[in-house]
Symmetry: C2
């Protein structure tokens, strides 16, 4: 069902500072960012990993009431989610619901409740 | 420098229970485990993701004094680390040290201090 580990999202307090650390110390190169995603309440930068489309996303909250802001206040900087690529999101959702998994559907985004992932929030993303 | 997101390690309290959840609810299939890795103080199971060699590893502590046991006691279940594949580990280590990154070298294993990753513990693994 899952094609690859598509990306991870890392919550950060200061996008510019963390971009500098990922670029200089970790040796990565941003392909996007800083850019605002207002509908998600965040600013982000994207660091491609390899050639298959995987990436690391750094996300800083915009304001106090998005998912990133709430998690940052509660848990500090660190991993926010792991996104797994599926070729058919609708089919994956139907299969997981039939399996009894608790999903969180937010608009077109689908997450697996972190209790099912034993502390890891998984997102399912469709990639052809 | 980085070829792919190679694997993630998820700390769990009970390996058999979490394997059941990953297999039934998340729809994954273990390729290894349960197996003991005594030198790492853990029992684990491995779930391949896609065809490129990536996987999710579930890790339950063996005893109270390994890295998994300490993190589980402090932070509970959840993401333990994200492993990034590099083609030449020695070269990657030399480059990151030259960049001023704090690395944690434990035998043949190399980790990037989580302060550099802004809360994420990265491991570097060599994959040809």
């Amino acid at each position: 069902m899952h094609k690859r580990i598509d990306h991870i999202v890392v919550r950060v307090k200061n996008l510019e500072q963390s971009m500098r650390d990922y670029e200089t110390k970790l040796g990565m190169k941003a392909s996007k960012g800083p850019e605002e995603l207002r509908h998600l309440g965040m600013r982000r930068a994207v660091f491609p990993i390899g050639d298959a489309g995987s990436f690391i996303e750094l996300a800083e909250p915009l304001g106090d009431d998005g998912a990133i802001a709430r998690s940052l206040a509660k848990q500090g900087e660190g991993l926010h989610l792991v996104a797994l690529a599926v070729s058919d999101l609708k089919a994956a959702v139907a299969e997981m619901k039939a399996n009894g998994a608790r999903l969180i559907e937010a608009g077109s985004m689908v997450f697996v409740h972190p209790s099912e992932g034993h502390g890891v929030l998984y997102q399912l993303v469709e990639r052809k």
